[in-house]
């Protein structure tokens, strides 16, 4: 420990060391602040829509409950769903800035509603956000490179190397020095995160997991820096080699991987199922009603013995072919989903070889802001939509009047974990 204190003093006496670390700490803090602001904005938006949504429902209830037509109620009532950010989302914003976190659905065919996008400024979304994951993945290694590239070579260039090696234990000294720098960088990056996590109410176990991932990532870069330094070249050469390594590992290879993965896993099914679903739903207008309803009763036999549909327009028949339209594209939905998951899985595999990708994958998983989280939100919407349909079907198929009180009985969006 005495050695560490001395090393710390030596370290701080270098001209650029302190300011460099301070810069990293400042950037880290700013990134945490920016992330927390964004999450607060999203949370406030979720809170803002509650009264708006209630007012909307009341307005619809006002005119629908006059006639009490359940079909109208199901057609005109929009139900709100939302995806509340997790406690750690501020650290890695992931897809939350480009995917919707609030979405309204009706009891009609779901496939035409669920792929709706959010309105955001695409030019600004292009580079990505300045969040903590970015600082850790891209900037912290650069700082480590600055602090570690001349660990051995500066002593050699100053002529002190042989004296040092003669005096102190060889590996012990370098481990202490590298370890000190690694520790300082880790603290500069971890302290703001811990602070932010405390303010966001994140669980200690989660924070620990994030910090462990960060620690491993920084340790990897420390090893790379020390390894290059041990090759015995000049400080300048080390710096150049390490900077080139950083570019290749964090910019070039991930971009190549992205291109390869996307080409190997085409996901055209998304557009295809949208086109097909529209065809199926609107073909329902022309199909004979008996055919449609019998197909529907195969799926929902509980409504078979309800009052039959007379010719012309009837809500039962309408909702029947809406749902059948959804079912007709179920295979493509699954295929599309599999394609997306395959892309994600391959990215995780790439993350085993490219630490930058690996740490980003881990962070976004822990923060719940990756593609899987988006798909999970969509799954929850699907389940909610199912509950909605099952809520409205009794009124529609039994031709029960739908009054103001019934609006209050409609399923509410539950915030599962």
């Amino acid at each position: 420990m005495i050695g560490l204190g001395q090393e710390l003093r030596l370290f701080l006496r270098q001209r650029l060391a302190g300011p460099t670390l301070a810069l990293l700490a400042v950037l880290s803090a700013i990134s945490i602040g920016a992330g927390m602001l964004e999450i607060r904005r999203q949370t406030e938006a979720i809170a803002r829509i509650q009264p708006l949504q209630a007012a909307e429902e009341a307005a619809v209830a006002a005119w629908v409950s006059r006639e009490g037509d359940a079909g109208n109620a199901a057609y005109y009532t929009f139900h709100a769903t939302w995806d509340r950010p997790s406690a750690l989302a501020f650290a890695a914003l992931g897809q939350r800035d480009v995917a919707p976190y609030v979405l309204r659905v009706r009891a009609l065919a779901l496939e035409s509603q669920i792929h709706e996008g959010e309105s955001y400024n695409a030019e600004l979304a292009l580079p990505g956000r300045f969040d903590w994951a970015f600082v850790l993945t891209f900037l912290a290694p650069l700082i480590l490179i600055v602090l570690l590239h001349d660990l051995i070579s500066s002593e050699r260039e100053a002529g002190r190397l042989q004296a040092l090696q003669a005096a102190g234990g060889r590996t012990g000294l370098w481990v202490r020095r590298a370890g000190l720098r690694l520790g300082l960088v880790f603290v500069a990056v971890a302290a703001p995160l811990a602070l932010g996590a405390g303010m966001s109410g994140a669980k200690a176990a989660e924070v620990l997991a994030v910090l462990t991932a960060a620690g491993f990532y920084l340790a990897f870069w420390t090893l790379v820096c020390v390894g290059v330094g041990a090759l015995g070249r000049s400080s300048v050469a080390n710096g150049a080699v390490l900077a080139a390594t950083w570019v290749v590992l964090t910019l070039v290879l991930p971009a190549l991987a992205h291109m390869v993965i996307n080409r190997a896993n085409p996901v055209r099914q998304g557009v295809e199922l949208t086109l097909a679903q529209r065809e199926a739903v609107h073909a329902g207008w022309d199909k004979p009603k008996d055919a449609t309803l019998s197909a529907f009763f195969k799926v929902h036999p509980e409504w078979r013995n309800t009052p039959p549909v007379t010719s012309g327009f009837h809500w039962k028949w309408y909702y029947a072919f809406q749902h059948l339209g959804d079912l007709s594209v179920a295979d493509q939905v699954r295929a599309y989903r599999r394609g997306l998951e395959s892309r994600d899985a391959w990215t995780a595999r790439v993350g085993l070889f490219l630490p930058a990708v690996g740490v980003q994958t881990a962070l976004h998983r822990m923060a719940g802001t990756d593609l899987a989280a988006q798909l999970a939100y969509q799954d929850r919407i699907r389940a909610f939509h199912e509950r909605l349909r099952r809520f409205y079907y009794p009124y529609i198929f039994n031709e029960t009047p739908f009054r103001k009180g019934d609006f209050g009985k409609a399923p509410r969006w539950a915030e599962s974990g």
Partner: protein
Amino acid sequence: MSPVLRIATNELRVLARARVAQLAIALVVALSAVAALTAITQGQESQEIRSRFQAQADREFDGQPARHPHRMVHYGHFVFRPLPALAGFDPGVDAFTGSTLFLEGHRQNSANFGDVRQSSLLVRFGQLTPAFVIQALGPLVLIFLGFGAIARERDSGLLRLHFAQGVRAGQVVLGKAAALSVVAGLILAPALIALAWLTVFAGAVPAAALMLAAGYAAYLLVWVLATTSISALAPSSRTALASLVAAWALSAILAPRLATDIALLAAPQPTRLETDIAIQRDLKKIGDSHNPDDPYFTAFRASVLKTYGVARVEDLPVNYRGLIAMEGERLTSALFETYAERQFADQKRQSGLALALGGVSPTLAVRSLSMAASGTDLEGHRRFLRQAEAYRYAIVQRLNRLQAERLTYSDDSNRNSDPEAGRRVRIDPGAWRQTPDFVYRPASTAESLAASTPGLLLLGAWLALAGGLAWAASRRLERAGS
């Protein structure tokens, strides 16, 4: 041969013999070539796919059976945003904006199935396009090859040897910069070939391609001058490398993200959900077309009756339900337009703020120019949205007009109870085939050049700054003498 030329050719000769330089240039040229190839083929493929989907949507619309026109309004139509020819070079916001837009009555949908929601987080690491290679990697290669051009020679005494031959500092700086410019040209070469290919074979606008070439050349020239100047000004080659890499990290990596966050903080945008609710609210304030006792529509009915000079809607020569549909669509579309324009204005303000921060980063300036000239900037997407909305309004109103003119009011009112009326309200499918197809009008040359101008001006300012820095470096080198 002038000393500047001698110094330049000698520097190139030394670089050519340096293994590091060979490796770096080979790598970046290879990357640039790979990026160009994949971008071109991928651009072609995407365009084919979109055309195919558009053809399918057109076929499906035209092939609909006899239908009630209002059913067709809800059947809707799909339009697919076509890719401009230069999107292969710089896809810009293409991955972030959906390419599939569903047009229907009473609703303005979002463009969906953008790549960003269909890809993993790798998409945020950067896409391997010629634009990315030149914007992010080109300067780095120039830095690695050029940071020691003067600094190392000063450290080793070679610089003094130059002065001993009677060479001036300015000539040294110019010579080294000239040599580095040749390297920049090498880096740019695959991209220029790609641009030429796109112009000749893919129908890109030559003026835009020239603008791109000029912009990227200016961008790399800024880095050439900055690298040479810092090499001359820094006390050691190590400091030169560190400062240049820091400048690059700030410019290419940090500034774009900081600009995003600052712009979004200063001018936030509401979510789609809130916009929808707000539109519904405003609509209800004006009038509710589904409510028969609504005051607005009562007044509307009165004015229609007066225009045609009849007492009851049943006596109108046209289908009153069709007229209501047209009026309802007109109201909603006017609201959509108001909100959309407001959103566009918000986004423009955001983007403008972000670009203003291009004063800190030449990468932001060249990115703005690149996307504008390629037609893949936000303005290009907005153009698509505006044209798609205009098209949507046109075909919906066309269908509503068919409902007003071809159907009788009594048939329309009784279509569900009377099977004969139900048959009569379905008009023949020839009407669908006569509906015009969506033809996207891309930005004219003048428009895309005008959009590129801010980026170009910023780059010009950076070029002047870099030139000034080079001049100051020459003066300092001269005075320092060694």
